[in-house]
């Protein structure tokens, strides 16, 4: 049974790269352009096993998305990884407070994403 990942990023290139890596690793991937889109997509969609989200996005940013998701019963304990740049130390803190499980620091390579996901994804 393949796991489902929700990938949220307003940059199509970045989103596709993450989605591509996860698809290759056997995940089913749901893509969303920003927080609001993600909330809409999880509402009627399949259960999500892991979330990877960018922070800076229009409509609804990553931090707000994490807060929204943590309010939902289905996402209470779901691993949520945020995509950050190293310079955004304050963002990392804000993300943790919102309930982010961990972070992937940009720039990243495919192996790193998979490694970090393996780290937080319950087997």
């Amino acid at each position: 049974m393949s796991k489902t990942a929700l990938v949220v990023d307003d940059s199509p290139t970045m989103r596709q790269m993450v989605a591509f890596t996860l698809t290759n690793a056997g995940f089913k991937v749901v893509e969303a352009e920003h927080g609001r889109d993600a909330v809409a997509k999880v509402a009627g969609g399949p259960p999500v096993d892991i979330v990877v989200t960018d922070l800076n996005m229009p409509e609804m940013d990553g931090i707000s998305l994490i807060k929204e998701l943590r309010k939902m019963a289905a996402f209470k304990f779901t691993p949520i990884l945020m995509l950050t740049t190293e310079s955004a130390a304050d963002k990392k803190q804000a993300g943790k407070e919102a309930g982010a499980t961990g972070w992937i620091v940009k720039p990243f390579n495919p192996d790193l994403i998979l490694k970090i996901i393996a780290k937080v994804l319950p087997t």
């Binding site: 949520i80 740049t85 940009k106 720039p107 390579n109 192996d111 780290k119």
Partner: protein, 721 residues
């Protein structure tokens, strides 16, 4: 299965270009509304995206430079610094610089390091050294040490008390133990449950436990630290190393990142940088020295090793090469709305259904089913037409992409020329073919420059003439029939009839006593080398004249028209075909052959009276059309055909116009008007003089599309021979 990101590079460049446009437009708007926080956020997001994604591909120069911009933008966004014209200007110049950096990453073209360096410093200076954050060290060595040669075992004592909200962040202690077990051996794991409250008061979503354990591993210390990456900062964590009796203790504090992208190589630093770093010279001294540094070209000229002309030719070549390289990598990709594709897939589905109904009908056809057949054929035709339209629409982009460069251009022009200019854009959503959009950028730029430089007056002159100080340039695009019209309009001084006339007489284009009507005077400005500008400025007069504009537009199968009123302004109207792949053509017959004449070039068709033809020595045959003599071309002679008529009074003459020249072409018959799909001759056969391309006609035969320009040249050559 390949986990290689390089396939996303093209997408990145496309996306980066879009983000750059957003940044530039945003900054221009920001100059007008410095308090607009939404705008700042938008600019910041785009810069941030460029930074993040460029780092993914190892474009570190881009990432680092964008980081500097981003830091400044962040300060503006947080209100720590105010948007001043100087800062907006700095950011705009930085955007230009970023463009060249991205181009360099794309094409390998060279970058002006001095400019990059200077802007980097200006950006840093503008931040007033306020908490400068470090950039991800893409170039730096990996923090993870290579595995040591021997299987040396480290042994650690780990005490870990996680924060109680561990589970609420989706973290699971089991995961951490599992990860540790993967890289080493866990032993003596003890759990401390003393903090566990009474069952009644226990919150099952909280973590009350802490652990102690012994851990043996061959891995480096950083790897062990990395296991606790997401929890370390919030836990009470002690990892004590027990090596050779020496104990090292590190509390869980923020350690440097454990990852760096691999596959990047560090570039040796320039000498100047090293000297500054080692304190031999100061940054100022270095910059001064760099600014005195001469270009190779200048040195060579001084040593008389090369002439300035040779150098400038070589530079030109270098630029051409760069431009060529740029073109080469100009990817042929296009972004299409998923909507458009979905509709197309739907239509193809319908086509398949129609086709299967038809083949079913064909398998057991009886003549009484003819009405059904006709109905299905009509359905097929409908499907085909709609698919054609949809496919064409995939190549259609809003012209706004071509307009987007103008706000910046006009801003710079108005600053340079000391004029007050506002630019009004409309019809940006008008769609046309991608190729056409890419090709009209330069002609449009020239027209806008022309309007700003020659069209609009100085503020004083405008006030003297009872006009508002602020001059207006309007760019508008709209559909008209099967064409798109783009107008470039200014409310400036208008074309000066007398000046143009005087210049034309001087250049021998018209006789001195001639008094041509206005509509014959205005097109004179499209003649090569024709400029009435009194002085050559930085903006115009750089060799690219209005003649090039006209040639470019006509190269696209379009026309340029001028409307002007002295003291009121000038309107240039460009009329372009929606696409280059399909043209509206008139099919004509010569003997048994069918040719297609581009409809746009046809002025009229006539049947001349006897006596209208004249043969002039050295000029071939001429025909008198309303008192103007036009060269006449007999198609059958050019293409060596057997015509139906050799007498012009029985045949039909098409009066065609190209680049302002008119010519009469003799054909046997006009068959009708139709859209034809152009097939390249060069790709399928070879270039043939007088033929622009070929197409497949309704009956399956090949028809040639006439190249009017080429025909004119053949006619001239024929005379000369």
């Amino acid at each position: 299965m390949s986990n290689d990101f390089s396939q996303f590079q093209d997408a990145f460049f496309e996306e980066a270009a879009e983000h750059l446009a957003v940044v530039e437009e945003g900054l221009l708007a920001l100059e007008q509304h410095p308090e607009d926080l939404d705008l700042l956020n938008k600019i910041f997001r785009s810069a941030h995206s460029i930074k993040g994604t460029s780092g993914m591909f190892g474009f570190n120069a881009v990432a680092q430079f964008t980081h500097k911009m981003e830091t400044l933008l962040d300060l503006l966004r947080n209100g720590q610094k105010a948007v001043t014209p100087a800062i907006a200007d700095l950011l705009l110049r930085s955007t230009d610089c970023l463009k060249t950096l991205i181009d360099a990453a794309k094409t390998g073209s060279s970058v002006d390091d001095v400019t990059v360096q200077r802007l980097t410093e200006e950006l840093a200076a503008s931040q007033n050294a306020s908490g400068s954050q470090s950039m991800p060290q893409g170039n730096g060595p990996s923090k993870i040490k290579p595995a040591s040669a021997g299987p040396e075992l480290y042994s650690y004592a780990i005490a870990w008390a996680p924060p109680d909200w561990l589970f609420q962040r989706g973290l699971d202690p089991q995961q951490i133990f599992k990860e540790l077990a993967d890289i080493g051996t866990l032993s003596q794991v003890t759990v401390d449950a003393t903090k566990l409250p009474e069952l009644a008061t226990m919150d099952p979503e909280k973590c009350y436990l802490s652990w102690r354990m012994k851990f043996e591993t061959a891995k480096d210390r950083q790897v062990v630290d990395a296991v606790f990456e997401f929890v370390r900062e919030d836990s009470v964590l002690t990892i004590t190393e027990e090596v050779q009796g020496k104990e090292l203790e590190v509390r869980g504090e923020e350690s440097p990142s454990f990852v760096t992208p691999d596959g990047t190589e560090s570039k040796p630093k320039p000498l100047g940088e090293l000297l500054v770093e080692s304190g031999v010279v100061s940054r100022e001294t270095l910059n001064k020295a760099l600014s005195q540094q001469k270009r190779v070209g200048e040195i060579l000229v001084e040593q008389h090793a090369a002439t300035p002309q040779q150098i400038s030719q070589a530079l030109q070549k270098q630029q051409d090469n760069a431009a060529h390289a740029k073109k080469g990598t100009e990817t042929a990709s296009i972004r299409v709305d998923t909507d458009k594709i979905d509709k197309l897939i739907n239509l193809v589905g319908e086509l398949v259904i129609t086709q299967s109904m038809l083949s079913d009908l064909g398998a057991r056809f009886e003549i009484n089913q003819l009405p059904v057949l006709l109905e299905r054929m009509a359905q097929l035709e409908g499907n085909t037409r709609e698919i054609q339209e949809r496919v064409m629409s995939i190549r259609m982009l809003p012209i706004g992409t071509a307009f987007s460069r103008f706000p910046r251009l006009v801003r710079d022009l108005s600053a340079k020329a000391g004029k007050k200019i506002q630019l009004v854009l409309s019809g940006e959503e008008t769609e046309l073919d991608k190729t056409v959009i890419e090709s009209i950028g330069d002609p449009l730029t020239h027209l806008v420059r022309n309007s700003a430089d020659h069209g609009l007056e100085t503020p004083e002159e405008r006030l003297d003439n009872n006009k508002p100080e602020l001059g207006t340039i309007r760019l508008n695009a709209f559909h008209e029939g099967g064409n798109i019209c783009i107008t470039v309009e200014d409310d400036g001084r208008g074309l000066n009839r007398d000046k143009i006339l005087a210049k034309a007489v001087k250049q021998g284009l018209i006789a001195e006593n001639e008094k041509p009507p206005d509509d014959q005077i205005w097109p004179l400005i499209f003649k090569p080398g024709f400029s009435t500008a009194e002085k050559v400025t930085d903006v115009s007069g750089r060799g690219v004249g209005m003649d090039v504009v006209k040639r470019n537009i006509e190269g696209l199968g379009g026309t340029v028209k001028i409307k002007t009123a002295l003291g009121k302004g000038t309107v240039f109207t460009l009329k372009l075909p929606l696409t280059l792949a399909i043209i509206e053509g008139m099919t004509v017959r010569v003997g048994k052959e069918t040719y297609i004449v581009p409809l746009l070039s046809i002025l009229e068709s006539i049947q001349p009276k006897a006596g209208a033809m004249k043969t002039v020595i050295g000029k071939g045959e001429l025909i008198n059309v309303r008192e103007t003599y036009l060269p006449m071309i007999r198609m059958y002679e050019v293409f060596a055909l057997q015509p139906e008529y050799t007498d012009p009074t029985k045949a039909i003459l098409l009066i065609l116009e190209t680049e302002g020249e008119r010519v009469a072409v003799m054909v046997d018959e006009i068959l009708g008007q139709q859209q034809v799909v152009i097939k390249s001759m060069e790709k399928n056969f070879r270039k043939v003089d007088g033929i622009a391309g070929a197409t497949i006609l309704g009956d399956g035969t090949v028809g040639f599309i006439l190249d009017i320009r080429g025909l004119l040249e053949i006619a001239r050559r024929g005379v000369a021979a």
